[in-house]
């Protein structure tokens, strides 16, 4: 497996406690990695460490195979772009000036591609408008354009949908998908807007209290979040007999509750249960969402 980023038992202490507590994660090349966790779980701390804004207290990580304590890590970081928390843009400059500034920071020999980049993030017609007069969505897109200036193949976005209106969220989502599909950019997105993330991510990492609870690919997650019919019946024994007879896949939760998979006909199912002497008290379709999966995984309420 070709990994862009691997962390190994990362620990970060602050004065008020541990932000990361032995975090291990793996970001595959070409993935859109959704980094999921409640506020204060350690998502931004991890991103700060990867970007070189802070140093880990313990543990290591590799970026393109280069260890974080190696001098070569700065070279690896040149292949990376990031928007950490808020977009890194000069509010007193126009979109074009911000990109020119970033081109100079990167030491690019010319401004070739600058217009294309502005068009890519749909800011080509902002003219002399200063970034301070941009909407939140425009600033976010400009931040992404700045992060893309060095033509990176790994993009880190920390809560990119924060504070955006529905239109802005859709624009950012489409942009990320375009970057991943057309430019093969690997993307690490931290978010706690799970519904939005579920439309993007190919891989997920669930973090809680500074630890990785689970890493899972989108197909695996989908399999874990299968649709089913949740039945509440008078007795589970005639139910199992009827389901076995019908050849349906099921799981029994209690003496009176079971999930039935494979989308059976509700009429056929209730008739078969009636014939088996099993009273159906309640029946409803159950679709485990990313949110409920996450809640089951970390346990307890999300305190966002």
């Amino acid at each position: 497996m070709d990994y862009i980023l691997q962390t190994n038992n990362l620990i970060k202490h602050y004065k008020n406690g541990k932000a990361l507590n032995g975090l291990t994660m793996h970001v595959e090349k070409g993935a859109i990695y959704g980094f999921v966790g409640r506020n204060g779980a350690g998502k931004t701390t991890l991103i700060r460490l990867i970007c070189g804004l802070q140093e880990p207290t313990e543990g290591t990580f590799t970026l393109y195979g280069c260890p974080n304590d190696s001098r070569e890590i700065t070279r690896s970081r040149r292949r990376m772009g990031a928007v950490v928390e808020t977009p890194s843009i000069y509010l007193s400059m126009t979109a074009e000036e911000n990109l020119k500034q970033q081109y100079q920071i990167l030491g690019l020999p010319s401004y070739d591609g600058l217009r294309d980049l502005l068009e890519l993030v749909r800011l080509g017609n902002t003219g002399k408008k200063k970034a301070k007069d941009f909407s939140l969505g425009m600033r976010q897109r400009l931040g992404i354009a700045v992060a893309l200036a060095g033509d990176p193949d790994f993009l880190i976005l920390d809560e990119p949908a924060n504070g955006l209106d529905p239109q802005g969220i859709v624009e950012i989502r489409e942009l990320i998908l375009r970057l991943n599909r057309d430019r093969q950019i690997t993307v690490l997105i931290s978010s706690h807007i799970l519904d939005e993330l579920s439309r993007l991510a190919t891989h997920y990492g669930f973090i809680d209290n500074g630890r990785m609870v689970k890493e899972i690919s989108a197909p695996e997650l989908e399999a874990n979040c299968r649709k089913c019919l949740r039945l509440t019946v008078s007795d589970a024994r005639p139910l199992t007999a009827a389901l076995d007879k019908m050849g349906l896949e099921y799981s029994i939760h209690s003496d009176t509750e079971a999930d039935v998979y494979d989308a059976p006909s509700v009429t056929e199912l209730t008739l078969a249960l009636h014939n088996a002497g099993c009273e159906v008290k309640n029946i409803h379709e159950h679709d485990e969402s990313l949110e409920s999966y996450y809640m089951n995984l970390v346990g307890g309420a999300v305190d966002d």
Binding site: R48, C51, R77, M80, V84, S92, M93, E97, Q104
Partner: protein
Amino acid sequence: MTNLLRANFFRMRRDHMFWACFGTVLVCSTVFMFFWCRDDIQHGFQTKLEQYYFNMALPLGLFTAVFAAMFLNAEYSEGTIRSKLTVGHTRREVYLAHFLTVLTASLFFVAAWLIGGCVGIPMVGAWECGFQVVALHVLVAVCFTAAFAAIFTFLGLILSGRSATVIVVLAWFALLLGASVIENILSEPEFASGIIMTVDGMQTMDPEPNPYYVSGALRTFYEFLRDIIPAGQAMQVQSMAVLDPLRALLCDLGVTAVFTLGGLALFERKDLK
């Protein structure tokens, strides 16, 4: 680091605060020199250019402080310092590039002062003290400006947050206050000769040793302290009374080196958000 410097200068050219400070120094230097010279000419005083030429040396540090505070604070408040580190520049490069940018801007302010002051030349003639004396005072001014730039870059980059802007500007006032206190101590006369009123009129008393006069090692220490504080040197340049130019230059070099090396060491370990 060349890329960072180029980017910083690109931003400096578009920075309103830089042009506001530059313009203020230029206008103040020109206007004040013009009025001082005009008043002296009108009153028939024999005026030399150097009497007023170095007056702007004292407030120069304030402009460096204001520019450094605003320029460096934007890096934190707008988060742009992150985009420099994220793309692989080292912290050392980022720190030094910012120091050199603040220094360059400050030297522009020095140039604005020197150019503005030349308005007095057609009115009262050129410097009478000789080119070497003028050049020496300008050199000391350039060096204490570098020391100011090092101190304010240190404060601006090590203390992040909005309070840093205020602290940087307050630091200039603190340095000025410290230098003034030392200057007052050093300007105490060695002997005090009082005047008493008698029925025969005023009579001068025999000079008596001034208890507030500091001498010996303590005086040397205070003189050293005055030189090590850039505002103390600014006072000396303003009154064209740089007692020991070599010591002043060495002090500037020392202050610049200590603050820059200390800043680099602390910035290297600083957790950025």
